[in-house]
């Protein structure tokens, strides 16, 4: 990389942002060409945290490989596990008990809130406000405590298994979630007062990092990044899985296409997740939390694909089976990778500060991109 750095023929500065940099939230390296403060080119260099999870999955059984996926997008590990479990269930045609389905959706939505909260804090920190990060972590802590009681883990849950969930919910789960819902609703107003309404924050975000709907589609952007440009892409609505088709919630669409639109999408999604949890928390049906499955799972020969909506966008799991106990080939379609590819287009022509703000609104989790 060293020979690329320095000054270009036109006298532009070429600087490395990352792999060790406060704004990349991990080991991402951006080689940025700058003309003064103006960004001319952004070139992401990946692979600093590549652990070949897809290759590792090929030697693990259908029960085991799910655990590696918690380490991909570690902020929505429940949803990653969920996608894999759904794909295996699809192959084996396992009926999941309704109780397990509801618990899974509850966990997914709690994860989504936790992930968006952390993103909110990190976004404010990228713009130079340090305090929101601590406020976001305070509320996120409540969720991780709830998760810890039921799943035994705080970050990499490994709670979803083919056929249901690993264990039944903790007796105090429902009550604690209800307490959390009351808490978070008042806190969201506080967040809006502190950050969303702030004039400096709005000036930094509005009109910055514009991504048109056509570009969002052609770069393959999904999740809040695409919905900020007005592209309907909520997998929970378009290809409903589990009990999502029975639930009342809105797909948030903003049409401005700038960083502030993506910000608003995520803030409103927190409220929609709260709405989903409110519908389900009192209506967890009785029954088994796991259906009876064989000790050794063998997917029939063929190809299986399942997509879910993570906090960052569409996660696709593609399994090719030769009929054995381990997958022949696994491919994950991770949301971060496609969203990152649009960064050059979005940041070009803006200032260096805009690049950081735009990168924040993509909500990148680097292990999700590198896998």
């Amino acid at each position: 990389m060293v020979e690329e750095l320095g000054t270009t023929a036109e006298g532009d500065l070429v600087i490395n942002i990352g792999p060790q940099h406060p704004a990349t939230h991990g080991v991402l390296n951006l080689v940025v060409t700058l003309n003064g403060e103006t960004v001319k080119k952004v070139e992401p260099h990946l692979g600093y945290i590549h652990r070949s999870i897809e290759k590792m999955c090929e030697s693990l059984s259908y029960r085991q490989f799910i655990y590696t996926t918690s380490r991909m997008d570690y902020l929505s590990s429940h949803i990653n596990n969920h996608a894999c479990a759904l794909c295996v269930e699809k192959g084996l045609q396992i009926e999941v008990p309704e109780r397990a389905q509801v618990i899974r959706v509850l966990m997914d939505e709690l994860t989504r809130i936790a992930s968006h909260l952390l993103w909110w804090g990190a976004q404010a920190m990228d713009l130079g406000a340090f305090t929101p990060y601590f406020y976001a972590f305070r509320e996120r802590e409540t969720i991780t405590t709830i998760m810890e009681e039921t799943c035994g883990a705080r970050l990499t849950m490994n709670y979803m298994v083919p056929g249901g969930v690993m264990a039944d919910i903790h007796p105090s789960f429902q009550q604690k979630v209800k307490e959390f819902l009351l808490l978070i609703q008042s806190k969201i107003d506080e967040y809006d007062e502190l950050v969303t309404g702030n004039i400096i924050f709005q000036n930094r975000m509005k009109g910055v990092g514009f991504l048109s709907a056509a570009d969002a589609i052609s770069y393959g952007c999904t999740g809040p990044t695409a919905r900020g440009s007005g592209v309907s892409s909520d997998i929970r609505k378009i290809y409903p899985y589990e009990v999502y088709s029975k639930l009342q919630f809105d797909e948030i669409l903003e049409t401005a296409g700038d960083s502030f639109a993506r910000y608003l999408v995520r803030m409103k999604e927190i409220k929609q997740s709260i709405r989903i949890i409110e519908q389900l928390i009192d209506n967890i049906p009785a029954g088994d939390f796991q259906s009876k499955t064989k000790a050794v799972l063998k997917l029939p020969k063929g190809e299986f694909y399942q997509r879910v909506e993570t906090a960052r966008g569409e996660l696709g799991v593609y399994i090719v089976s030769e009929g054995g106990t381990t997958p022949y080939r696994i491919k994950f379609r991770s949301p971060g990778f496609s969203n990152l590819s649009a960064l050059d287009h979005m940041a070009k022509g803006g200032k260096l500060g805009d690049l950081i703000a735009t990168m924040g609104t993509l909500d990148l989790v680097i292990p999700d991109i590198d896998r």
Binding site: L13, I15, H21, P22, A23, L34, E37, A124, M125, D126, L127, G128, A129, F130, T131, F134, Y135, R138, L194, V195, N198, I200, F201, N203, R204, K351, L352, G353, D354, I356
Partner: protein, 358 residues
């Protein structure tokens, strides 16, 4: 009111009677320099610990509370660590300028202490162009920052230094204009005169709306001049990692760090001197009995109380607001603050000429 005048006077008389005039001045200079360095060190340590505790208070944390009683020795321990660290000079750096830069920034910060009145009759040098001196000296610090950024041979440092240069030079203007509006009211550039003129009320109360506008503009410009968030373009952690002092380590970094805090103290001291009466107690016109009660509080407490209140406000800004972008920062100065302060100066001149102030 407790006064230092008798102490300093008797000491000076004793020196004059014992030594010849040249040696007297030398001894006095050495004492003053030692006092300034001691104040510098103490203020640095106190302000660093204060910043960390204020940040912790705002961010629902505890902050440093392990080293010494209530964590008060934390910054002493940090300083010891920084002294013992190796002061690296990058191989591509301009060694002379690289090592000179922190001292320039530090010397400037120390020089500005000269005309500030810390208490009644407690002032290092009451020069007749005090206000002019403050604005002149404070603009030298940008040279140190540019020097540091250029000599580091690091692109982040260079960008930080250029940002800082653009920013400090711009905000000097509106800071200077708001200082001028008080000079217009007082009719003197001497800081002791400015303090004395606030005997029957501080200028922020006496000067009507123009004084309040000037005060607000001065606080904004002061925050920008000291490179503090929301105007911390020169450091901009999430953009430039550490800006102009990216390559500095050990004590050379500590000098930049200390100079930043001393500069905060100085701008707040200037603001409290000009607008809040400096060491002058809170007086209401000719309400004599009330004024007498207020006089019982020592003047140094008044001065440091006001200054530390303003420092707290500036810290509050830092931990609340996001950072501006560089073009927004310059827009704010050249499109809003500068025209407003020019108009405000005009208004203030009118108030002063017509005698509308109290």
């Amino acid at each position: 009111m407790v006064s230092f005048h008798s102490i300093t006077d008797s000491f000076k008389t004793w020196l004059n009677s014992t030594f010849n005039p040249t040696i007297t001045i030398m001894i006095e200079s050495v004492i003053v320099i030692l006092l300034a360095i001691a104040l510098f060190a103490v203020l640095g340590l106190v302000l660093v610990i204060m910043e960390r505790r204020v940040a912790a208070f705002i961010q629902i944390r505890l902050g440093p509370n392990r080293v010494g009683p209530l964590g008060l020795l934390q910054s002493t321990a940090d300083t010891l660590k920084l002294i013992m660290k190796e002061g690296l000079t990058p191989s591509g750096a301009d060694k002379f300028l690289f090592n000179l830069a922190p001292f320039v920034v530090m010397i400037v910060a120390m020089l500005i202490l000269a005309p500030i009145g810390f208490a009644k009759d407690f002032q290092i040098w009451d020069m007749n162009i005090g206000v002019l001196y403050l604005s002149a000296i404070s603009s030298i610090s940008v040279i140190g920052i540019l020097m540091a950024g250029w000599a580091s041979n690091n692109k982040y440092s260079l960008m930080g230094a250029m940002r800082s240069g653009a920013q400090i030079v711009s905000y000097e203007l509106s800071a200077g204009l708001s200082i001028l509006s008080v000079v217009v009211l007082t009719g003197s550039l001497k800081l002791s005169d400015i303090v004395a003129s606030q005997e029957n009320g501080w200028w922020i109360f006496k000067g009507h709306i123009p004084a309040i506008i000037a005060f607000v503009i001065f606080i904004i410009a002061a925050t920008a001049e000291t490179n503090r968030a929301p105007f911390d373009m020169a450091e901009a952690e999430s953009e430039l990692t550490a800006g102009f002092h990216t390559e500095y380590s050990g004590m050379k970094f500590a000098l930049f760090f200390l100079a930043e805090y001393i500069n905060i103290f100085i701008v707040c001291a200037i603001a409290s001197t000009l607008f809040l009466g400096g060491w002058m107690p809170f007086h209401i016109g000719s309400f004599t009995s009330f004024n007498h009660i207020m006089d019982y509080i020592p003047s140094s407490i008044w001065f440091f109380g006001k200054t530390f209140f303003l420092i707290f406000v500036i810290m509050w800004f830092r931990w609340t607001f996001p950072r501006l972008r560089i073009d927004q920062l310059l827009n704010l100065e050249w499109k809003y603050l500068l025209p407003i302060s020019l108009f405000n100066l005009l208004l203030m001149t009118m108030v002063a000429i017509m005698g509308w102030h109290f």
